[in-house]
């Protein structure tokens, strides 16, 4: 499935890392509005760094990031968020000393994803709205992290390993929620995931990172079918 729509995110020759250390080397890719892109790769190749660079949490070193046509590579993270970039971090990182409700309320600034609507999307959160976030189970924390990212009403959603460590049934629930989000809000999603079967099955395109460099880019369906390539790039014992 190809999207010919407007390019919402345009990353050009991007170098970034932490302090002086360089993790990403000349990364280039684009994402169209409404598209879902998956970033694959082994552990420690820079997938999380890529998402955090788009959020503005790493040290930008060279290159450009254009979001909706504007250069954002030097903007503070909260400004990027206000421009429409939402992020669900790898370790969920919900605010532990806030209740579920507060976790959502602190970032909600108006917009179509009202807290009530987020509870519709993740009914389990509604049941636990007054509990401290640190008391939630792993799956609930993951839901809260995604709901929190949605609460700031993003156009682009960055998901870092949204199904890692979840029970199979919860994985299915999560995938359904993501699909529903896309259907309802025409969200653009960039997702990092190690469970490539799940990720590829539900996305449009994928890029593969290795040591901070994009080594392959292809439509997801094509990639999923090519077992030899998967094995070579991701070291998957088929």
């Amino acid at each position: 499935m190809a999207h010919d729509g407007e390019i919402i995110l345009d990353v050009r020759k991007l170098d970034a890392g932490y302090g002086a250390a360089k993790v990403l080397h000349g990364v280039e890719f684009t994402v169209s509005r409404g598209e879902m892109l998956v970033v694959l790769g082994r552990n420690g190749v820079g997938k999380t760094t890529l998402l955090e660079t788009i959020c503005g949490l790493t040290t930008w070193q060279a290159g450009e990031i254009l979001f909706k046509g504007q250069n954002i590579e030097r903007l503070a993270p909260y400004r990027r968020n206000r421009m429409g970039i939402g992020w669900s971090p790898q370790e969920r990182e919900v605010f532990p000393s806030l209740s579920v409700q507060e976790n959502l309320a602190v970032v909600y600034r108006g917009g179509k994803w009202t807290i009530d609507k987020l509870y519709d999307l993740f009914p389990r959160l509604r049941a636990r709205r007054d509990n401290y976030a640190r008391l939630l189970s792993g799956g609930e924390q993951q839901m809260l992290a995604i709901a929190r990212a949605l609460a700031s009403d993003p156009d682009l959603l960055l998901l870092d390993e949204p199904v890692e460590g979840l029970a199979p049934l919860v994985v299915q629930e999560m995938v359904a929620a993501i699909n529903r989000m896309r259907a309802e809000a025409a969200l653009t999603i960039v997702m990092v995931e190690t469970k490539h079967e799940v990720a590829l099955a539900h996305s449009d395109r994928c890029i593969v990172l290795d040591h901070g460099v994009i080594v392959h880019a292809a439509p997801s369906a094509e990639m999923l079918a090519d077992h030899a390539l998967l094995d070579r790039l991701l070291g998957v014992a088929a």
Binding site: C55, G56, L57, Y78, R82, W87, L98, A105, V106, R148
Partner: protein, 287 residues
């Protein structure tokens, strides 16, 4: 009976005195998780600004209080931008050392500017003396302290702690990286909270200095009390600070009345017992 009630009232008043003295630290330590011992210096500064305004410029008492609050808030936010913000992420001990260093510096600077002597306070006539309330002879200033402290506590608890702003501050403290990526302007929120904490500390200084005597050693003298109140109350809660202040105030005054030979043991012993029993304080949120 009258004696008991008077003692009880005085305990409550002392509790509110402790509350206004320590609520500044409660905000910075409790809400922002920043061990800012320099709050005691902000209190001293508040005391000096207060005495300068009241004594030097003859500004009415009730007008002096907001002046003190805003002046100290401004000073504290300037310092926050210059120094403190680089230390939010460091560990407790580093923060203790930094801020105790600043306390030392503030003592020397206050000596330089205001001299080593105690300041003179001429409080307005309406606030000194005694009043008869329900047959008890109570000190007017203590009545004022109870009223002012109560209003302050209610304002802070419902205006700062239990609001979205309070939650935002806690979110920033919990995880600054994520908070900023979720659209919270963490720098602004911290600076704002810091200013409130500083302003409150200054207000505490202004309200307590005339009772306690104001000289350049003010910060070191009352630091221990402030620390005791805030940690017994528990990190992260203004309500806790209020409860602890009142409990300690009443216990101290009652203790001094009924068993004067124990002196300040009561307050210290209470500290040790409470902290052994509940290391996170009476209303602390735990680890």
């Amino acid at each position: 009976m009258a004696a008991i009630l008077t003692v009880l009232f005085n305990g409550v008043a002392y509790g509110f005195l402790l509350f206004v003295m320590s609520v500044g630290l409660s905000v910075s330590l409790g809400m922002m998780n920043f061990v800012n011992l320099a709050q005691a210096s902000f209190s001293m500064l508040g005391g000096y600004i207060f005495v300068t305004a009241l004594q030097g410029y003859g500004i009415p008492f009730m007008l002096c209080l907001p002046i003190v609050f805003f002046a100290v808030a401004i000073v504290s936010v300037v310092l926050e931008r210059l120094i403190f913000r680089y230390f939010y992420k460091t560990d407790d001990l580093t923060q203790v050392l930094l801020t105790i260093g600043l306390v030392f510096m503030s003592i020397a600077m206050a000596t330089y500017v205001w001299g080593g002597t105690y300041q003179r306070f001429d409080m307005p006539a309406w606030i000194i003396g005694q009043k008869d309330v329900f047959g008890l002879t109570l000190e007017t200033y203590r009545i004022f302290l109870v009223g002012f402290g109560a209003v302050m506590a209610v304002t802070l608890i419902f205006g700062l702690e239990r609001t979205n702003l309070g939650a935002m501050v806690r979110a920033c403290v919990d995880n600054r990286r994520v908070a900023t990526a979720c659209g919270l302007n963490t720098e602004l929120i911290f600076a704002f909270t810091f200013a409130i904490g500083g302003g409150l500390a200054g207000l505490g200084g202004a309200l307590s200095a005339n009772l306690l005597g104001l000289d350049p050693n003010f910060p070191l003298r009352y630091l221990v009390y402030i620390l005791i109140v805030v940690s017994i109350g528990g990190m992260g809660t203004i309500t806790g600070t209020l409860v602890a202040s009142l409990a300690l105030g009443i216990a101290d005054v009652m203790g001094k009345y009924y068993v004067p030979q124990f002196g300040s043991f009561i307050i210290y012993l209470l500290t040790v017992i409470v902290m052994l029993w509940r290391p996170h304080g009476l209303m602390g949120r735990g680890a």
